[in-house]
């Protein structure tokens, strides 16, 4: 098959651009474990609130783990995230675990890499660190979940590592 020289150059450049992107993404995914969050873990949304459940009211919020990292458990339910205010330290690994009590929700914190869908029946898990301190950054629902969707948010405060 004859391919014109100019078209070949376009082809080589497109392949080069694609190779650069895939190479950088693969390098950081394999080398630094940076990739889109993924977790397949099922949970019964009907019993989230019951005693003994990981997402019962007493178990929600921020918890310091023995290794110095933090774990945050939150429930998304029309129309809010619970607890509604959380505080975590900067430059410290934080594992977020979200569960939905009703319909499909999403969570997005602007100017951070914390963003995921919260699918009913599944636990969404995101591991991240916040490099900068911030006060009352909104955590928005970014999946349309009903008439009150645009009022659905909670607040995240990132404090200095020593202050927590």
């Amino acid at each position: 098959m004859h391919v014109d020289q100019t078209e070949k150059k376009w082809l080589y450049i497109s392949l080069f651009v694609t190779a650069v992107m895939i190479g950088v993404l693969t390098l950081f995914a394999v080398g630094s474990n940076i990739h889109p969050p993924s977790n397949v873990e099922t949970i019964n949304s009907d019993t989230l609130h019951l005693e003994g459940s990981e997402f019962a009211e007493d178990n929600l919020g921020v918890k310091k783990m023995p290794d110095g990292s933090y774990e945050v458990r939150m429930v998304a339910a029309r129309y809010g995230f619970y607890p509604q205010k959380i505080k975590v330290p900067a430059n410290t690994p934080v594992k977020f675990r979200f569960a939905s009590a009703d319909v499909l929700h999403g969570i997005h914190v602007p100017f951070t890499n914390l963003s995921t869908m919260v699918v009913p029946g599944y636990v969404s898990e995101v591991n991240t660190e916040f490099p900068k301190e911030s006060v009352d950054t909104p955590m928005f629902c970014n999946e349309y979940c009903g008439l009150g969707h645009d009022h659905m948010w909670s607040k995240l405060t990132v404090v200095a590592k020593e202050a927590k």
Binding site: K9, F28, N33, F111, N113, L114, P131
Partner: protein
């Protein structure tokens, strides 16, 4: 508009498309540079995620 002479037409039709190559390289540099800037200075600056 000035008419193209037959010599000029010949040169255009059979010469190397230097302008196209320059455009190609400029596009590649801008596209790759922009993508790398966003990845390293916007995405990674917001902290690791997995």
């Amino acid at each position: 508009m000035q008419k193209v002479t037959s010599e000029e037409e010949e040169k255009i039709l059979h010469g190397k498309p230097v302008g196209t190559f320059a455009l190609l390289l400029a596009f590649m540099a801008l596209f790759v540079g922009g993508w790398l800037y966003m990845y390293f200075f916007m995405f990674l600056e917001h902290g690791p995620v997995s």
